[in-house]
Protein backbone atom coordinates (compact mmCIF):
# COMPACT_ATOMS: atom_id res chain seq x y z
CA UNK A 1 0.00 0.00 0.00
CA UNK A 2 1.43 3.33 -0.98
CA UNK A 3 1.39 6.36 1.29
CA UNK A 4 -0.96 8.07 -1.07
CA UNK A 5 -3.50 5.28 -0.79
CA UNK A 6 -3.52 5.18 3.00
CA UNK A 7 -3.99 8.95 3.12
CA UNK A 8 -6.88 8.65 0.73
CA UNK A 9 -8.46 5.94 2.87
CA UNK A 10 -8.08 7.94 6.09
CA UNK A 11 -9.67 10.88 4.34
CA UNK A 12 -12.56 8.74 3.11
CA UNK A 13 -13.18 7.36 6.59
CA UNK A 14 -13.21 10.86 8.07
CA UNK A 15 -15.55 12.00 5.32
CA UNK A 16 -17.86 9.05 6.09
CA UNK A 17 -18.04 9.93 9.79
CA UNK A 18 -18.57 13.62 9.11
CA UNK A 19 -21.25 12.97 6.54
CA UNK A 20 -23.22 10.70 8.88
CA UNK A 21 -23.24 13.44 11.53
CA UNK A 22 -24.28 15.96 8.89
CA UNK A 23 -26.92 13.55 7.63
CA UNK A 24 -28.63 13.28 11.01
CA UNK A 25 -28.70 17.01 11.72
CA UNK A 26 -29.74 17.48 8.10
CA UNK A 27 -32.71 15.16 8.65
CA UNK A 28 -33.84 17.26 11.60
CA UNK A 29 -33.64 20.39 9.46
CA UNK A 30 -35.52 18.68 6.63
CA UNK A 31 -38.29 17.65 9.04
CA UNK A 32 -38.72 21.31 10.02
CA UNK A 33 -38.57 22.71 6.51
CA UNK A 34 -41.60 23.78 4.50
CA UNK A 35 -40.98 21.73 1.40
CA UNK A 36 -39.61 18.38 2.56
CA UNK A 37 -42.60 17.14 4.57
CA UNK A 38 -44.63 17.82 1.41
CA UNK A 39 -42.39 15.43 -0.50
CA UNK A 40 -42.93 12.83 2.23
CA UNK A 41 -46.69 13.51 2.02
CA UNK A 42 -46.77 12.17 -1.53
CA UNK A 43 -46.59 8.74 0.11
CA UNK A 44 -49.87 9.40 1.96
CA UNK A 45 -51.70 10.01 -1.34
CA UNK A 46 -50.11 6.92 -2.84
CA UNK A 47 -51.07 4.80 0.18
CA UNK A 48 -54.66 6.06 0.17
CA UNK A 49 -55.08 5.53 -3.58
CA UNK A 50 -53.53 2.04 -3.46
CA UNK A 51 -55.39 0.83 -0.38
CA UNK A 52 -58.72 2.07 -1.75
CA UNK A 53 -57.99 0.58 -5.16
CA UNK A 54 -57.38 -2.93 -3.85
CA UNK A 55 -60.08 -2.92 -1.14
CA UNK A 56 -63.80 -3.06 -2.03
CA UNK A 57 -65.66 0.07 -0.86
CA UNK A 58 -67.86 -1.89 1.51
CA UNK A 59 -65.13 -4.25 2.75
CA UNK A 60 -65.81 -4.94 6.41
CA UNK A 61 -63.34 -4.58 9.24
CA UNK A 62 -62.69 -7.75 11.20
CA UNK A 63 -65.18 -8.45 13.98
CA UNK A 64 -64.24 -10.41 17.08
CA UNK A 65 -65.86 -12.64 19.70
CA UNK A 66 -66.62 -11.75 23.34
CA UNK A 67 -63.57 -13.85 24.31
CA UNK A 68 -61.34 -11.28 22.58
CA UNK A 69 -62.66 -8.29 24.56
CA UNK A 70 -60.03 -6.24 26.37
CA UNK A 71 -60.64 -6.37 30.15
CA UNK A 72 -60.88 -2.60 30.21
CA UNK A 73 -61.22 -0.33 27.21
CA UNK A 74 -58.40 2.18 27.36
CA UNK A 75 -59.28 5.87 27.42
CA UNK A 76 -56.85 8.06 25.51
CA UNK A 77 -56.67 11.80 24.88
CA UNK A 78 -59.48 13.67 26.63
CA UNK A 79 -61.07 11.64 29.44
CA UNK A 80 -63.41 14.34 30.76
CA UNK A 81 -63.94 17.51 28.70
CA UNK A 82 -63.21 20.73 30.62
CA UNK A 83 -66.19 22.46 29.13
CA UNK A 84 -68.95 23.93 31.39
CA UNK A 85 -71.69 23.30 28.84
CA UNK A 86 -70.61 19.67 28.51
CA UNK A 87 -70.38 19.27 32.29
CA UNK A 88 -73.93 20.66 32.65
CA UNK A 89 -75.22 18.13 30.12
CA UNK A 90 -73.34 15.30 31.83
CA UNK A 91 -74.74 16.31 35.25
CA UNK A 92 -78.20 15.70 33.84
CA UNK A 93 -77.25 12.36 32.20
CA UNK A 94 -77.36 14.05 28.80
CA UNK A 95 -81.16 14.36 28.93
CA UNK A 96 -80.87 17.80 27.29
CA UNK A 97 -78.30 16.67 24.73
CA UNK A 98 -79.10 17.34 21.07
CA UNK A 99 -77.01 16.11 18.15
CA UNK A 100 -77.16 18.81 15.48
CA UNK A 101 -76.89 17.56 11.88
CA UNK A 102 -76.65 20.16 9.14
CA UNK A 103 -74.58 21.64 6.33
CA UNK A 104 -75.14 20.51 2.75
CA UNK A 105 -78.32 18.58 3.52
CA UNK A 106 -81.92 18.95 2.36
CA UNK A 107 -83.37 18.68 5.89
CA UNK A 108 -81.16 19.85 8.82
CA UNK A 109 -82.21 17.99 11.97
CA UNK A 110 -81.31 17.50 15.59
CA UNK A 111 -81.57 14.30 17.58
CA UNK A 112 -81.93 13.63 21.29
CA UNK A 113 -80.23 10.54 22.74
CA UNK A 114 -83.64 8.86 23.03
CA UNK A 115 -84.34 9.57 19.36
CA UNK A 116 -80.98 8.10 18.33
CA UNK A 117 -81.61 5.03 20.46
CA UNK A 118 -85.02 4.71 18.81
CA UNK A 119 -83.44 4.30 15.38
CA UNK A 120 -82.20 0.90 14.15
CA UNK A 121 -78.89 -0.02 15.76
CA UNK A 122 -75.81 -2.08 14.99
CA UNK A 123 -73.65 -3.94 17.52
CA UNK A 124 -70.06 -4.88 16.67
CA UNK A 125 -66.98 -6.18 18.47
CA UNK A 126 -64.06 -4.48 16.83
CA UNK A 127 -60.42 -3.63 17.37
CA UNK A 128 -59.45 -0.04 18.03
CA UNK A 129 -55.97 0.74 16.69
CA UNK A 130 -54.31 3.82 18.12
CA UNK A 131 -51.77 5.74 16.04
CA UNK A 132 -49.39 5.25 18.99
CA UNK A 133 -49.31 1.52 18.31
CA UNK A 134 -51.63 -0.13 20.85
CA UNK A 135 -54.90 -1.90 20.15
CA UNK A 136 -57.96 -2.57 22.32
CA UNK A 137 -61.02 -4.66 21.52
CA UNK A 138 -64.45 -3.43 22.55
CA UNK A 139 -68.13 -4.08 21.88
CA UNK A 140 -69.94 -1.08 20.45
CA UNK A 141 -73.62 -0.40 19.91
CA UNK A 142 -74.94 2.61 18.05
CA UNK A 143 -76.92 4.12 15.23
CA UNK A 144 -75.43 3.64 11.77
CA UNK A 145 -74.43 7.05 10.46
CA UNK A 146 -75.98 6.11 7.11
CA UNK A 147 -79.44 5.99 8.76
CA UNK A 148 -78.99 9.50 10.15
CA UNK A 149 -77.74 10.70 6.75
CA UNK A 150 -80.76 9.14 5.02
CA UNK A 151 -83.00 11.28 7.22
CA UNK A 152 -81.21 14.58 6.57
CA UNK A 153 -80.59 13.79 2.87
CA UNK A 154 -77.12 15.08 1.87
CA UNK A 155 -77.05 17.19 -1.29
CA UNK A 156 -75.23 15.86 -4.39
CA UNK A 157 -72.23 18.14 -3.77
CA UNK A 158 -71.64 16.61 -0.31
CA UNK A 159 -68.12 15.15 -0.07
CA UNK A 160 -67.23 14.98 3.63
CA UNK A 161 -68.86 14.56 7.00
CA UNK A 162 -67.30 16.68 9.78
CA UNK A 163 -67.72 15.80 13.47
CA UNK A 164 -67.68 18.64 15.98
CA UNK A 165 -66.79 17.73 19.55
CA UNK A 166 -67.26 19.10 23.06
CA UNK A 167 -63.65 18.67 24.21
CA UNK A 168 -61.42 21.76 24.18
CA UNK A 169 -57.85 20.83 23.20
CA UNK A 170 -55.93 23.98 24.17
CA UNK A 171 -56.18 27.29 26.05
CA UNK A 172 -57.40 29.05 22.89
CA UNK A 173 -60.51 26.91 22.97
CA UNK A 174 -59.79 24.85 19.86
CA UNK A 175 -62.20 21.95 19.96
CA UNK A 176 -61.57 18.45 18.70
CA UNK A 177 -62.99 17.77 15.26
CA UNK A 178 -62.61 15.14 12.57
CA UNK A 179 -63.75 14.44 9.04
CA UNK A 180 -64.38 11.41 6.82
CA UNK A 181 -65.49 11.02 3.23
CA UNK A 182 -68.94 9.86 2.11
CA UNK A 183 -67.74 6.28 1.49
CA UNK A 184 -66.73 5.92 5.11
CA UNK A 185 -69.84 7.82 6.25
CA UNK A 186 -72.10 5.29 4.51
CA UNK A 187 -70.07 2.23 5.55
CA UNK A 188 -72.23 -0.25 7.52
CA UNK A 189 -69.77 -0.33 10.44
CA UNK A 190 -69.66 3.46 10.79
CA UNK A 191 -71.92 3.96 13.80
CA UNK A 192 -72.70 6.73 16.28
CA UNK A 193 -71.97 4.63 19.35
CA UNK A 194 -73.82 5.15 22.63
CA UNK A 195 -72.90 1.86 24.32
CA UNK A 196 -69.55 0.23 25.09
CA UNK A 197 -69.34 -3.35 26.38
CA UNK A 198 -73.11 -3.44 27.05
CA UNK A 199 -72.93 -0.35 29.27
CA UNK A 200 -73.91 3.25 28.58
CA UNK A 201 -70.86 4.82 26.91
CA UNK A 202 -68.66 6.16 29.76
CA UNK A 203 -67.46 9.77 29.73
CA UNK A 204 -63.84 8.54 29.51
CA UNK A 205 -64.67 6.88 26.17
CA UNK A 206 -66.66 9.74 24.63
CA UNK A 207 -70.18 9.98 26.15
CA UNK A 208 -72.80 10.51 25.01
CA UNK A 209 -71.85 9.81 21.36
CA UNK A 210 -68.61 8.78 19.69
CA UNK A 211 -68.22 7.68 16.11
CA UNK A 212 -66.70 4.35 15.09
CA UNK A 213 -64.80 4.26 11.78
CA UNK A 214 -63.44 0.76 11.92
CA UNK A 215 -61.01 0.78 8.99
CA UNK A 216 -59.04 3.76 10.23
CA UNK A 217 -56.96 4.67 13.28
CA UNK A 218 -58.39 5.78 16.62
CA UNK A 219 -57.91 9.51 16.19
CA UNK A 220 -60.51 9.53 13.38
CA UNK A 221 -63.12 8.22 15.84
CA UNK A 222 -64.14 11.50 17.45
CA UNK A 223 -65.56 11.44 20.99
CA UNK A 224 -68.07 13.81 22.69
CA UNK A 225 -69.77 14.60 19.35
CA UNK A 226 -72.13 17.58 19.48
CA UNK A 227 -72.63 18.30 15.79
CA UNK A 228 -72.29 16.75 12.36
CA UNK A 229 -71.77 18.97 9.34
CA UNK A 230 -71.95 17.77 5.74
CA UNK A 231 -69.54 19.79 3.58
CA UNK A 232 -67.93 19.83 0.14
CA UNK A 233 -64.54 20.92 1.56
CA UNK A 234 -62.96 21.21 5.00
CA UNK A 235 -60.37 23.79 3.90
CA UNK A 236 -62.02 26.56 5.94
CA UNK A 237 -62.45 24.48 9.11
CA UNK A 238 -59.72 24.70 11.78
CA UNK A 239 -56.32 24.83 10.06
CA UNK A 240 -57.89 23.23 7.02
CA UNK A 241 -56.41 19.73 7.29
CA UNK A 242 -59.67 18.00 8.21
CA UNK A 243 -59.13 17.29 11.89
CA UNK A 244 -57.51 18.32 15.15
CA UNK A 245 -54.63 15.85 14.82
CA UNK A 246 -54.37 16.44 11.08
CA UNK A 247 -53.76 20.11 11.91
CA UNK A 248 -50.88 18.89 14.14
CA UNK A 249 -49.27 17.02 11.23
CA UNK A 250 -50.96 13.61 11.27
CA UNK A 251 -52.35 12.14 8.06
CA UNK A 252 -55.97 12.76 7.07
CA UNK A 253 -56.04 9.26 5.63
CA UNK A 254 -55.55 7.06 8.69
CA UNK A 255 -56.00 3.64 7.10
CA UNK A 256 -52.35 2.84 7.92
Amino acid sequence: MTMNKSKRRAFLLRALTASSVLLLSGCERLSRSEWFPRVLDSAEKLTQATQRLITPRKAMAQEFTPADLSPQFRSNGTSNPENPQYQALAANNFADYRLQVGGLVARPMSFSLAELRGLPSRTQITRHDCVEGWSAIGKWKGTPLSIVLDQVQPKPEARYVVFYCADPMDAQGTHYYESIDMDDAHHPQTILAYELNDQILPIANGAPIRVRIERQLGYKMAKYITGILVVDSFASIGDGKGGYWEDQGYEWYAGI
Binding site: L24, C27, E28, A43, E44, T55, F64, R127, S135, I137
Partner: protein
Protein backbone atom coordinates in the same frame (compact mmCIF):
# COMPACT_ATOMS: atom_id res chain seq x y z
CA UNK B 1 10.04 -17.26 -10.33
CA UNK B 2 11.66 -14.10 -9.21
CA UNK B 3 9.96 -11.94 -6.60
CA UNK B 4 9.74 -9.29 -9.27
CA UNK B 5 7.08 -11.26 -11.12
CA UNK B 6 4.82 -11.46 -8.07
CA UNK B 7 4.28 -7.74 -7.99
CA UNK B 8 3.43 -7.35 -11.63
CA UNK B 9 -0.06 -5.89 -11.67
CA UNK B 10 -0.90 -7.75 -14.83
CA UNK B 11 -1.29 -10.91 -12.75
CA UNK B 12 -4.38 -9.33 -11.18
CA UNK B 13 -7.48 -8.81 -13.18
CA UNK B 14 -10.71 -6.96 -12.58
CA UNK B 15 -13.91 -8.69 -13.33
CA UNK B 16 -17.32 -7.10 -13.68
CA UNK B 17 -19.10 -8.32 -10.56
CA UNK B 18 -22.20 -6.14 -10.06
CA UNK B 19 -24.28 -4.77 -12.90
CA UNK B 20 -25.46 -1.16 -12.78
CA UNK B 21 -29.09 -1.95 -11.79
CA UNK B 22 -27.87 -4.13 -8.91
CA UNK B 23 -25.52 -1.39 -7.67
CA UNK B 24 -28.24 1.27 -7.82
CA UNK B 25 -30.82 -0.93 -6.12
CA UNK B 26 -28.33 -1.97 -3.43
CA UNK B 27 -27.66 1.64 -2.40
CA UNK B 28 -31.32 2.66 -2.59
CA UNK B 29 -32.02 -0.24 -0.26
CA UNK B 30 -29.29 0.92 2.14
CA UNK B 31 -30.79 4.43 2.29
CA UNK B 32 -34.39 3.22 2.64
CA UNK B 33 -33.53 0.70 5.36
CA UNK B 34 -31.54 3.29 7.30
CA UNK B 35 -34.42 5.78 7.37
CA UNK B 36 -37.03 3.08 7.99
CA UNK B 37 -35.14 1.73 10.99
CA UNK B 38 -34.63 5.10 12.65
CA UNK B 39 -38.15 6.42 11.99
CA UNK B 40 -39.54 3.04 13.05
CA UNK B 41 -37.82 3.32 16.42
CA UNK B 42 -39.36 6.78 16.86
CA UNK B 43 -42.79 5.30 16.07
CA UNK B 44 -42.09 2.53 18.63
CA UNK B 45 -41.33 5.26 21.20
CA UNK B 46 -44.97 6.46 21.02
CA UNK B 47 -45.91 3.20 22.76
CA UNK B 48 -42.68 1.54 23.89
CA UNK B 49 -44.14 -1.88 24.57
CA UNK B 50 -44.63 -5.08 22.58
CA UNK B 51 -47.48 -7.50 23.10
CA UNK B 52 -48.52 -10.84 21.69
CA UNK B 53 -52.10 -11.29 20.50
CA UNK B 54 -54.95 -9.46 18.85
CA UNK B 55 -54.86 -6.47 21.19
CA UNK B 56 -52.52 -4.83 23.70
CA UNK B 57 -54.93 -5.49 26.54
CA UNK B 58 -55.36 -9.24 26.65
CA UNK B 59 -54.73 -9.66 30.36
CA UNK B 60 -51.12 -10.70 29.68
CA UNK B 61 -48.20 -8.36 30.39
CA UNK B 62 -46.13 -7.04 27.46
CA UNK B 63 -43.24 -9.14 26.13
CA UNK B 64 -41.04 -6.08 26.14
CA UNK B 65 -41.55 -2.71 27.75
CA UNK B 66 -39.40 0.38 28.24
CA UNK B 67 -40.09 3.10 30.76
CA UNK B 68 -38.76 5.20 33.61
CA UNK B 69 -39.41 4.89 37.32
CA UNK B 70 -38.33 6.54 40.53
CA UNK B 71 -36.15 4.56 42.93
CA UNK B 72 -36.49 4.60 46.72
CA UNK B 73 -33.56 7.06 46.75
CA UNK B 74 -35.51 9.43 44.52
CA UNK B 75 -33.44 8.90 41.36
CA UNK B 76 -35.19 8.28 38.09
CA UNK B 77 -33.90 5.25 36.21
CA UNK B 78 -34.69 3.67 32.86
CA UNK B 79 -36.21 0.20 33.10
CA UNK B 80 -36.50 -2.32 30.30
CA UNK B 81 -38.70 -5.31 31.06
CA UNK B 82 -38.20 -8.41 28.91
CA UNK B 83 -40.44 -11.44 29.61
CA UNK B 84 -40.99 -10.14 33.14
CA UNK B 85 -37.29 -9.58 33.88
CA UNK B 86 -36.38 -6.01 34.72
CA UNK B 87 -33.11 -4.45 33.58
CA UNK B 88 -31.71 -1.06 34.51
CA UNK B 89 -31.09 0.61 31.15
CA UNK B 90 -30.68 4.21 32.31
CA UNK B 91 -29.17 6.38 29.59
CA UNK B 92 -30.09 3.93 26.84
CA UNK B 93 -33.67 2.64 27.02
CA UNK B 94 -36.52 4.20 29.00
CA UNK B 95 -34.66 7.21 30.39
CA UNK B 96 -32.11 9.00 28.20
CA UNK B 97 -31.03 12.39 26.92
CA UNK B 98 -33.42 14.05 24.50
CA UNK B 99 -32.49 16.42 21.68
CA UNK B 100 -32.06 19.29 24.18
CA UNK B 101 -29.64 17.25 26.30
CA UNK B 102 -32.02 16.91 29.26
CA UNK B 103 -32.88 13.43 30.52
CA UNK B 104 -36.37 12.39 29.54
CA UNK B 105 -38.61 9.33 29.49
CA UNK B 106 -38.44 7.70 26.07
CA UNK B 107 -38.00 4.18 24.65
CA UNK B 108 -35.01 4.42 22.32
CA UNK B 109 -32.51 7.29 22.73
CA UNK B 110 -32.51 10.37 20.49
CA UNK B 111 -29.35 9.40 18.57
CA UNK B 112 -30.99 6.35 17.03
CA UNK B 113 -34.45 7.77 16.25
CA UNK B 114 -35.71 9.94 13.41
CA UNK B 115 -36.71 12.61 14.27
CA UNK B 116 -34.58 12.75 17.40
CA UNK B 117 -37.32 14.59 19.25
CA UNK B 118 -40.45 12.71 20.29
CA UNK B 119 -42.44 13.50 17.14
CA UNK B 120 -44.66 10.63 16.03
CA UNK B 121 -46.42 12.46 13.17
CA UNK B 122 -43.11 13.28 11.44
CA UNK B 123 -41.68 9.80 12.05
CA UNK B 124 -44.73 8.29 10.34
CA UNK B 125 -44.22 10.51 7.31
CA UNK B 126 -40.58 9.43 6.95
CA UNK B 127 -41.48 5.80 7.58
CA UNK B 128 -44.30 5.50 5.05
CA UNK B 129 -42.37 7.43 2.38
CA UNK B 130 -39.35 5.15 2.63
CA UNK B 131 -41.59 2.11 2.98
CA UNK B 132 -42.76 2.85 -0.58
CA UNK B 133 -39.14 3.35 -1.69
CA UNK B 134 -38.21 -0.02 -0.17
CA UNK B 135 -41.17 -1.87 -1.67
CA UNK B 136 -40.85 -0.38 -5.18
CA UNK B 137 -37.08 -0.99 -5.11
CA UNK B 138 -37.65 -4.51 -3.80
CA UNK B 139 -40.13 -5.39 -6.53
CA UNK B 140 -37.79 -3.96 -9.18
CA UNK B 141 -34.97 -6.04 -7.72
CA UNK B 142 -37.03 -9.24 -7.72
CA UNK B 143 -38.06 -8.73 -11.35
CA UNK B 144 -34.49 -7.90 -12.38
CA UNK B 145 -32.95 -10.78 -10.49
CA UNK B 146 -35.38 -13.22 -12.14
CA UNK B 147 -35.21 -11.92 -15.70
CA UNK B 148 -31.47 -11.20 -15.76
CA UNK B 149 -30.95 -14.71 -14.35
CA UNK B 150 -28.94 -13.15 -11.51
CA UNK B 151 -30.96 -15.36 -9.17
CA UNK B 152 -30.30 -18.66 -10.91
CA UNK B 153 -26.74 -17.86 -11.97
CA UNK B 154 -25.32 -16.14 -8.88
CA UNK B 155 -27.60 -16.76 -5.90
CA UNK B 156 -29.11 -20.22 -6.22
CA UNK B 157 -26.92 -22.77 -4.42
CA UNK B 158 -25.45 -25.47 -6.66
CA UNK B 159 -24.84 -29.09 -5.68
CA UNK B 160 -21.16 -28.23 -5.31
CA UNK B 161 -22.12 -25.37 -2.96
CA UNK B 162 -24.09 -27.71 -0.70
CA UNK B 163 -21.17 -30.14 -0.56
CA UNK B 164 -18.83 -27.30 0.42
CA UNK B 165 -20.95 -26.18 3.37
CA UNK B 166 -18.66 -27.75 6.01
CA UNK B 167 -15.58 -26.15 4.46
CA UNK B 168 -17.40 -22.83 4.16
CA UNK B 169 -18.34 -22.84 7.85
CA UNK B 170 -14.71 -23.61 8.77
CA UNK B 171 -13.49 -20.80 6.52
CA UNK B 172 -15.88 -18.32 8.06
CA UNK B 173 -14.98 -19.30 11.62
CA UNK B 174 -11.28 -18.82 10.83
CA UNK B 175 -12.02 -15.57 8.95
CA UNK B 176 -10.35 -17.12 5.94
CA UNK B 177 -11.64 -15.78 2.67
CA UNK B 178 -11.46 -17.41 -0.72
CA UNK B 179 -8.75 -16.11 -3.01
CA UNK B 180 -8.36 -16.23 -6.75
CA UNK B 181 -11.15 -17.61 -8.87
CA UNK B 182 -13.20 -18.99 -5.96
CA UNK B 183 -13.70 -15.40 -4.81
CA UNK B 184 -15.38 -14.80 -8.16
CA UNK B 185 -18.67 -16.28 -6.97
CA UNK B 186 -20.62 -16.27 -3.72
CA UNK B 187 -19.93 -19.06 -1.22
CA UNK B 188 -22.74 -21.17 0.18
CA UNK B 189 -23.16 -19.32 3.50
CA UNK B 190 -23.15 -16.03 1.64
CA UNK B 191 -25.82 -17.29 -0.76
CA UNK B 192 -27.99 -18.58 2.08
CA UNK B 193 -27.66 -15.30 3.97
CA UNK B 194 -28.61 -13.23 0.93
CA UNK B 195 -31.50 -15.53 -0.02
CA UNK B 196 -32.98 -15.51 3.48
CA UNK B 197 -32.81 -11.71 3.61
CA UNK B 198 -34.24 -11.25 0.10
CA UNK B 199 -36.97 -13.90 0.28
CA UNK B 200 -37.44 -14.17 4.04
CA UNK B 201 -36.80 -11.15 6.21
CA UNK B 202 -37.67 -8.31 3.80
CA UNK B 203 -40.98 -9.81 2.57
CA UNK B 204 -41.88 -10.69 6.17
CA UNK B 205 -41.24 -7.21 7.54
CA UNK B 206 -43.31 -5.65 4.73
CA UNK B 207 -46.14 -8.12 5.33
CA UNK B 208 -46.10 -7.41 9.07
CA UNK B 209 -46.22 -3.69 8.26
CA UNK B 210 -49.34 -4.27 6.16
CA UNK B 211 -50.80 -6.36 8.99
CA UNK B 212 -50.77 -3.26 11.18
CA UNK B 213 -52.85 -1.23 8.71
CA UNK B 214 -56.52 -1.27 9.79
CA UNK B 215 -57.62 -0.65 6.19
CA UNK B 216 -55.67 -3.63 4.85
CA UNK B 217 -57.11 -5.72 7.68
CA UNK B 218 -60.49 -5.25 5.99
CA UNK B 219 -59.16 -6.65 2.70
CA UNK B 220 -59.46 -10.22 3.99
CA UNK B 221 -60.91 -9.93 7.50
CA UNK B 222 -59.03 -12.17 9.90
CA UNK B 223 -55.86 -12.66 7.83
CA UNK B 224 -53.81 -10.99 10.55
CA UNK B 225 -54.75 -13.81 12.93
CA UNK B 226 -52.44 -16.12 10.94
CA UNK B 227 -49.58 -14.65 12.97
CA UNK B 228 -51.65 -14.30 16.14
CA UNK B 229 -53.19 -10.86 15.65
CA UNK B 230 -52.20 -7.24 15.07
CA UNK B 231 -50.06 -6.86 18.17
CA UNK B 232 -48.19 -10.08 17.33
CA UNK B 233 -47.59 -8.61 13.87
CA UNK B 234 -46.19 -5.46 15.47
CA UNK B 235 -43.86 -7.57 17.62
CA UNK B 236 -42.69 -9.61 14.61
CA UNK B 237 -42.14 -6.39 12.62
CA UNK B 238 -39.88 -5.15 15.44
CA UNK B 239 -37.95 -8.42 15.80
CA UNK B 240 -37.39 -8.76 12.04
CA UNK B 241 -36.10 -5.16 11.92
CA UNK B 242 -33.40 -6.13 14.43
CA UNK B 243 -32.69 -9.37 12.58
CA UNK B 244 -32.01 -7.21 9.52
CA UNK B 245 -29.75 -4.99 11.62
CA UNK B 246 -27.88 -8.14 12.70
CA UNK B 247 -27.54 -9.11 9.03
CA UNK B 248 -26.17 -5.65 8.21
CA UNK B 249 -23.56 -5.96 10.97
CA UNK B 250 -22.41 -9.38 9.79
CA UNK B 251 -22.50 -8.22 6.16
CA UNK B 252 -20.39 -5.12 6.85
CA UNK B 253 -18.01 -7.18 9.01
CA UNK B 254 -17.48 -9.67 6.18
CA UNK B 255 -17.06 -6.83 3.69
CA UNK B 256 -14.32 -5.33 5.86
CA UNK B 257 -12.63 -8.68 6.53
CA UNK B 258 -12.59 -9.79 2.90
CA UNK B 259 -11.25 -6.50 1.56
CA UNK B 260 -13.19 -3.33 2.29
CA UNK B 261 -11.95 -1.27 -0.66
CA UNK B 262 -12.18 -4.06 -3.18
CA UNK B 263 -15.75 -4.86 -2.11
CA UNK B 264 -16.76 -1.22 -1.90
CA UNK B 265 -15.33 -0.54 -5.35
CA UNK B 266 -17.23 -3.45 -6.82
CA UNK B 267 -20.51 -2.13 -5.41
CA UNK B 268 -19.78 1.37 -6.76
CA UNK B 269 -18.02 0.83 -10.10
CA UNK B 270 -18.95 -2.82 -10.57
CA UNK B 271 -15.36 -4.05 -10.79
CA UNK B 272 -13.85 -6.51 -8.34
CA UNK B 273 -10.13 -7.29 -8.37
CA UNK B 274 -9.20 -10.92 -8.43
CA UNK B 275 -5.71 -12.14 -7.74
CA UNK B 276 -4.76 -14.70 -10.36
CA UNK B 277 -3.66 -18.21 -9.37
CA UNK B 278 -0.09 -17.60 -10.52
CA UNK B 279 0.32 -14.71 -8.16
CA UNK B 280 -1.05 -16.74 -5.31
CA UNK B 281 1.56 -19.41 -5.98
CA UNK B 282 4.30 -16.79 -5.93
CA UNK B 283 3.36 -15.81 -2.43
CA UNK B 284 3.46 -19.34 -1.20
Amino acid sequence: MSPHVATVPASNFHYYRHTLPIRIMHWINVIAFFFLLMSGLQIFNAHPALNWGKSSYTGHPPILEMGAKQTAQGNIIGITTVFGHEFNTTGLFGWSKGEDGALTERGFPAWITLPGTQWLAMARRWHFFFAWVLVINGVAYLLYTLFSRHLTRDLAPTRRDWRSIGQSIKNHLRFRHPQGETAGHYNILQKLAYLSVIFGLFPLIVLMGWAMSPWLNALIPGWVDIVGGRQSARTIHFVVAWALVAFVFVHVFEVVMSGLWNNLRSMITGYYRLASKEQKHDHE
